[in-house]
């Protein structure tokens, strides 16, 4: 018999070493998240997956489950804070959903719908982030980057290439690629890389494939992210 903890009044079993979000996902309970991906070492930076453990906030992707914990997740208070974080991510970058190739497949957009986001609330920062179209097969549109570092981890830990990294600090933190020129074409990145598959938003895009699936028929158009998270991350 494995041990258990309580999540929003529900008993959740867990194995030794599992994080809260891992145990919750296994038990079919969705906790909103963006930088977490079941295949990679947790990063704990987006803070969307924050829950209250015994009354104290902590990121559920990095916190190990412990027997007898009392965890709150789907509460008005926490969801309101998650909503504010999502709005922050929207105003920090340049996210124009109607014209974005990832619309309907985008986890940021789907999370915003899940949390009932109706407006960005804050003033937009409108940062200047030039795109990198140098690579023959892939376009990098940094305007949409939410600094989740999934591509960094995928390239480093799975592809063994270190194509991506974060540089800068604070609000000027940004994604860089592994080339003196700073251009993706001068790296050994290919479409087969794991890093090409993991972007939760629309930064890493395959060229010459636009709107292959019509809007309205995409992943999160059919089902909310709370129902499809696993499937989407396994794609």
């Amino acid at each position: 018999m494995s041990q258990t903890f309580m999540l929003d009044g529900k008993t959740i079993p867990f194995e030794e070493g599992q994080t809260i979000i891992q145990a919750a996902t296994a038990a079919g309970v969705f906790i909103p998240h963006l930088c977490y991906h079941p295949e990679f070492k947790p990063h704990g930076s987006c803070k969307l997956c924050t829950v209250k453990v015994n009354g104290r906030q902590t990121a559920s992707c990095t916190m190990r489950a412990m027997a007898g914990m009392v965890v709150e997740s789907d509460t008005d208070e926490i969801n309101a804070e998650r909503l504010a974080l999502t709005q922050m991510l929207f105003v920090e970058g340049n996210h124009f959903c109607p014209s974005c190739e990832q619309s309907g497949n985008c986890q940021l957009q789907a999370t915003a719908y899940h949390l009932g986001m109706m407006t960005p609330h804050y003033d937009h920062f409108f940062p200047n982030r030039p795109v990198d179209a140098s690579h023959p097969e892939v376009l990098l549109d940094f305007n949409r980057c939410i600094l989740c570092s999934l591509c960094v981890r995928a390239s480093r830990d799975v592809d063994g290439k270190n194509v991506f990294a974060l540089s800068g600090r604070g609000i000027t933190t940004h994604l860089i690629v592994n080339a003196k020129s700073g251009q993706l074409a001068d790296t050994n990145f290919t479409l087969d890389d794991k890093a090409a598959q993991v972007c939760p938003v629309g930064v890493i895009l395959k060229k010459r494939r636009g709107f292959a699936v019509p809007i309205g028929e995409r992943t999160y158009d059919k089902q909310p992210i709370s129902e499809t998270a696993d499937a989407a991350e396994g794609r």
Binding site: T62, L85, L89, V91, L147, F164, I171, V177
Partner: protein
């Protein structure tokens, strides 16, 4: 050979020399980048090429680290890089006029490089010279006590391309300004005395320290001294001086008892990344009491069984590097560091100095460890804590400079003696860094429990409107609260004590602090990265006269969010200065409000400033009066 190749070859030579000296060890990345920049004036792409080859790490990692620290430049910033300290105290001492004066003198725009590539002038966070500001850094060397005349001389030296070592040495003189000494600032330690006292301690009958480790594993083997010394630290009730006040004895004990995997060891780290604006006590301790600090670190090493120690010195104190290395060298000669310390077989311990490079966040212990490992200074996910998983994932204690100095005194005089000083929950003394509006700024050492009023009287402060205790992340104390006391029972502090008289605008104080947090946020977590920028924008909105009650509510909401969602203390406390000043100095905010409910942040006339600058126009027709697009009622 093309000029470019020659340049690349010269740079490669510099990189090779530096990298070899650091044993081709990528964990020394921050030190390698610093030394390469000291030689090249910046970090050119050719240097990164060569580092990539010689260190065997990807370019992304090197650029990621170089991009994190304020003092590393991957774009040329001139042969002379002038950074004005921009703490609120520097502003009160008139640094803005001096910045303008130097810029005008050198024909350069603040934040940019001069057209001939000779010089850049910019601002930086507090450089720890608040008792003798305004201050600046030139190529990371501190120049304090600036005057208009000194600025003109500096401009002349730069224009004439006089190398920094040939500048008059008095420019670089930094005063200690010790105004009130107690057990620490009044101590005269004979180097080695505290160590010998620690070694001589025999375990008393009622041993307090838990000792889960085998006797053999520790340092030195087979004697009871370390556990007995730990007992003294516990008996002293010593608490960390970095502000949080964690019990030192418990920290050391946890590290001492942390299991080691094969090949692992324990580490002692001294946190001298004194970045909290308004704090400068560590500067003085390391200038004039370095033996006390290093001896305290060695006592700690003795207690926990460590063979290696680090002093993480903030980049702003670059000028202390050579003197501190000289002290370390002398202590090695005196057998107080190195192998078989004071003749105890197997008692090996040595200390390396790592310099920071302009990142306040590295004062957070896990970020500091990341930086020591040659990485971006991002706070780690905790647990696990450094006492079990610290430097290179091995058990590590990180303590403040003042904590180690206190530990040396406790080794010498015993825990009971120390616990008898101060108050029940706050044993010992605290050094306050007093600056701002007072007659005698400098260091004041008091037993814990001293009232704010007493400190103000001692330093000659009159007409005081407010005191910011423990810097921007601390508390703002108003005159009604001056009977409150310094100590963990009431006002805990890392040491900053910044005084504002009646003439100061407390809104501007808070805005300065908010800009500081925004600049120093590491950018790792969403709430702090974006939230500090939003807060800065709100404060600037109020400054521009577009504030309203709506904005107060927004600030309150941001505070809630940053408190609950942020990754570390920086985000948790970033709203403190604003909330404190709104609560205690509301008129300073209300003066700036044009309407009650809401005013847009956008100002058409201000938006045209760029166009005016480009066209060189500033006449009436180039402005749009506010009335024309509607004033709120």
């Amino acid at each position: 050979m093309a000029l470019n190749d020659m340049h690349a070859e010269a740079v490669a030579g510099i990189v090779d020399r530096v990298v070899t000296r650091y044993r081709r060890d990528p964990t020394c990345m921050v030190q390698i980048l610093r030394e390469v920049q000291e030689a090249c004036d910046w970090i050119p792409p050719e240097a990164i090429d060569r580092m990539q080859a010689t260190l065997g790490v990807p370019r992304t990692k090197i650029e990621g680290v170089a991009g994190f620290y304020s003092f590393f430049y991957t774009q040329p910033r001139g042969r002379y890089r002038v950074l004005f300290s921009d703490n609120v105290t520097d502003r009160m001492q008139g640094n803005q006029e001096l910045i303008e004066r130097l810029c005008k003198n050198l024909w350069v725009e603040a934040g940019k490089v001069s057209e001939d590539g000779l010089v850049s002038v910019d601002r930086t966070s507090c450089t720890g010279m608040c008792d003798q500001g305004p201050a600046l850094l030139v190529n990371n060397y501190a120049v304090a006590g600036l005057t208009a005349a000194r600025i003109d001389e500096i401009a002349e030296l730069i224009r004439n391309k006089v190398p920094l070592p040939e500048w008059p040495p008095e420019y670089f003189r930094v005063e200690d300004n010790i105004r009130k000494a107690d057990i620490m600032l009044g101590s005269q330690l004979q180097p080695g005395a505290a160590l010998r006292a620690a070694h001589a301690r025999a375990p008393s009958d009622g041993l307090m320290a838990s000792n889960m480790r085998s006797w053999r594993e520790g340092l030195p083997s087979g004697i009871g001294g370390p556990a007995a010394m730990l007992d003294e630290i516990k008996r002293a009730n010593l608490r960390g001086r970095g502000g949080a006040g964690f019990t030192t004895g418990l920290k050391w004990e946890a590290c001492r008892n942390a299991p080691l995997k094969p090949g692992q060891q324990r580490f002692v780290v001294c946190n001298a990344d004194e970045g909290e604006p308004g704090t400068f006590k560590d500067r003085v301790l390391l200038t004039s009491y370095a033996d006390l600090v290093f001896e305290g670190m060695t006592v700690a090493a003795y207690v926990i069984g460590a063979r290696r120690g680090f002093l993480y010195l903030r980049g702003e104190y670059r000028y202390l590097l050579e003197p501190l290395n000289a002290v370390l060298e002398r202590r090695r000669k005196e057998k107080l560091l190195g192998a078989d310390i004071i003749g105890i077989p197997g008692a090996d311990f040595d200390i390396e100095i790592h310099l920071g490079a302009g990142a306040y966040i590295c004062g957070e212990e896990s970020a500091l460890i990341e930086s020591l490992e040659g990485k971006r200074g991002t706070p780690r996910n905790r647990p696990p804590f450094p006492v079990t998983n610290g430097y290179l994932d091995q058990p590590t204690i990180v303590n403040n400079v003042e904590t180690f100095a206190a530990a040396a005194l406790i080794a010498l005089n015993g825990g009971e003696w120390y616990a008898g000083i101060g108050t029940k929950q706050s044993a010992g003394t605290k050094i306050l860094s007093v600056s701002g509006d007072c007659a005698r700024p400098g260091l004041y050492e008091y037993p814990f429990g001293v009232s704010v009023r007493q400190v103000l009287a001692d330093c000659g402060a009159t007409d005081v409107q407010a005191v910011q205790v423990s810097g921007p992340s601390g508390v703002c104390v108003s005159p009604g609260e001056f009977e409150r006391t310094i100590g963990f029972e009431d006002i805990p502090t890392a040491g900053a004590f910044t005084i504002f008289n009646d003439s100061r605008d407390m809104f501007e104080v808070a805005r300065n602090y908010v800009h500081f947090f925004q600049h120093e946020s590491c950018g790792f977590c969403t709430p702090c990265r974006v939230g500090t920028s939003l807060l800065k924008n709100l404060m600037d909105k109020l400054y521009n006269g577009c504030g309203s009650l709506y904005d107060f509510a927004e600030i309150e909401k941001l505070n809630q969010l940053l408190q609950s969602m942020s990754h570390c203390g920086l985000g948790h406390t970033a709203c403190n200065p604003v909330l404190d000043t709104i609560a205690k100095f509301r008129p300073a905010y209300e003066r700036r409000m044009t309407c009650k409910d809401f005013a847009p942040a956008f100002d058409l006339d201000r938006a045209l400033a760029g166009a005016r600058q480009m066209t060189g126009r500033d006449d009436a027709a180039a402005h749009i009066a506010k009335e024309e697009f509607g004033e709120c009622s």
